[in-house]
Symmetry: C2
Subunit: 340 residues, 2 copies
DNA sequence: AATCTGAACGCAAACGCTTGCGCAACAGCG
DNA sequence: CGCTGTTGCGCAAGCGTTTGCGTTCAGATT
């Protein structure tokens, strides 16, 4: 069918090994022969079979990327940036969309990436068992989410600092009843919701505001969840005058709920999100911006570097990217007399 | 390092071929032996090397997916749905993010998927040369975008009907100056912008409205582009009272531009989009809903079916999914005296 | 009892590449 | 002008599977 390395070798009048060396830029081939081979290969439309190459060399030039849900903006953006880095370095990306628990479980027990990838970038937080499975692959590992884990290079942000700037902003505006929409129901071993919650509590304590557990609701990191959570918060006896959502998508859900309740933002309720979602600007959402694409790119680069220098094994780096509060139109001082 | 098929064979006291047959559910293996092998394999944590298997069998159990930009909601959503189908059928997904022209060109000249995938799903519209390259792979091809192409199974929507319902809605509300934000600068051979434009023109003609070329602007299918386009439309001598955007993301950009110009939606200007983006509901955008995830899933299923029955070669099916107009809060009758 | 028939399993040849090693040919050295 | 390196290339042994074919053997058929 399609040309094999032997076809090229024959056509160029050399051996297969020379073709292999020539096409991969190895030394030991004269310039003239190399040019000849390159020309012949191009003319025959030859591409080396990755399967055969992997089998022979042990390297796959493929990176496995694990994602909980590709369709979500955050993951799509990280993946996009990471893929660019990988492909620029000559690596292909094997994508695993591990949304549901069953699929996820199946993945980690069968581990289809074994012997198939040179490294793994995971955008979901593996539990103890899962990360052990990944480590058993014997390849470099990286992640852009969750806290530090042995064996993983992780690039992330300072969740505490981000949250603090957001909540402090609300406090400075004069708010005293500040609600929070969190994503507590996420996977275990995910420190993000916990870190953000702690920071939220700290700022309240710092400001001398008593914490009211009724002002916390779970938004599941989705728009719908955010809407549900906001609706819950609106139902308590003394609703919040401001809300900190742990993600922009939940914040947007909150905005929707507020609109449904005929409440005005920010006049009646202030809302601040987290992420600086692509569309946060469209709805004028005040939020904590984090460099999402940069995190993906950086994680990819760190992984590639480990592949380049197989010397020092797991550096287990820990990179922290900058965050900043972006002020838009969903936050303002509370009304003099409270929401009613 | 990790166990090979021979290790399993030795441990189970059988030959490698029997292990291969047993683990893949082929006939010719007694139940007892199969159970034994399964147990041994599990205990050794054995997974067959895909590279070796592909090399020997010619099948890769991998599907190549070509995407212009994973981070964009539409593509992320299609990819998500398609990946689920593929992985459920035991196929892995090789993702190629072909955003920039250089990367795209490099991909099509080097064709790294050659001998690496059993089928290709492309979410970008290949031009003549590119689709010829894909056909040369000799594997089933499918797409969820663009018009019909020889050799491709395509699942899509009725762009004309969708546009007609959107623009007719504006006409019925009483609008006469109806602008359009299109994505004309997209790749060639992409019939969507053209179909939608033609439908737009048809509805105007039908309603006896003279077409004003100044009321068309290019939004590049991005939020920023939509914002730019809306700004342009606002700058013409008699600005439109309503705008049809060919995508929700452009519509959202338009909303942003309108907000910046202190114009109210829908009082001053009506906006209708296309897609029913996940966040369209949040901003109350009236839009033409299309089943994005369903299209990805359906395309994947059709591809898998072709892989199952290698008998009849390219059926080149053409599936059309339903669309419907979703009325929200960005459309209303024009003001009695026009926008000023 | 001799023959036939499957089922169950092993043998060995691919599959298409990479890579250590060997061997010329040729340059530079004293 | 021999000697030692260096360079350029071919040989052949893998890499870990799959699969067509051959062999064995128990049970059914005459």
């Amino acid at each position: 069918m399609t040309a094999s390395i032997n076809d090229v070798a024959r056509a160029a009048g050399v051996s297969a090994s020379t073709v292999s060396r020539a096409l991969r830029g190895r030394s030991g081939v004269s310039d003239e022969v190399r040019d000849k081979i390159t020309a012949v290969a191009a003319q025959l439309g030859y591409t080396a079979s990755r399967s055969a190459a992997s089998l022979a060399s042990g390297r796959t030039f493929t990176i496995g990327v694990l994602v909980p849900y590709v369709g979500r903006w955050f993951f799509g953006t990280v993946l996009d940036a990471a893929e660019r880095e990988f492909s620029a370095a000559g690596y292909d990306v094997l994508l695993y969309n591990l949304g549901s628990p069953e699929i996820r479980k199946r993945f980690f027990t069968r581990l289809p990436v074994r012997k198939r990838v040179d490294a793994v970038l995971t955008l979901l937080i593996p539990d103890e068992e899962e990360s052990a499975a990944l480590r058993s692959l014997g390849v470099p590992l990286a992640t852009t989410v969750g806290g530090s884990r042995p064996g993983f290079t992780v690039v992330g942000i300072d969740d505490r600092a981000g949250t603090e700037s957001a909540v402090r902003h609300l406090v400075n505006l004069g708010h005293r009843r500040i609600g929070m929409i969190s994503g507590a129901s996420g996977p275990l071993h995910w420190t993000t919701p916990i870190d953000r919650r702690n920071a939220y509590l700290d700022v309240l304590a710092d400001a001398g505001i008593e914490h009211d557990p009724a002002l916390e609701a779970d938004g599941d990191y989705t728009v719908e969840g955010g809407e549900r959570a906001m609706t819950e918060l609106l139902a308590v006896s003394r609703p919040p005058t401001a809300v900190y959502a742990q993600s922009d998508e939940m914040a947007m859900g909150a905005l929707r709920a507020l609109r449904r309740h005929r409440l005005r933002v920010p006049e009646d309720v202030s809302v601040v999100g987290f992420d600086d979602h692509e569309l946060a600007d469209v709805v004028g959402l005040t939020t904590v911006a984090q460099p999402v694409a940069d995190q993906g790119a950086e994680a990819a680069r760190l992984l590639l570097r480990q592949l380049d220098e197989p010397g020092a094994e797991p550096p287990t780096e820990q990179v922290q990217m900058p965050i900043r509060l972006v002020l838009r139109e969903t936050t303002a001082p509370p009304r003099p007399r409270g929401p009613q």
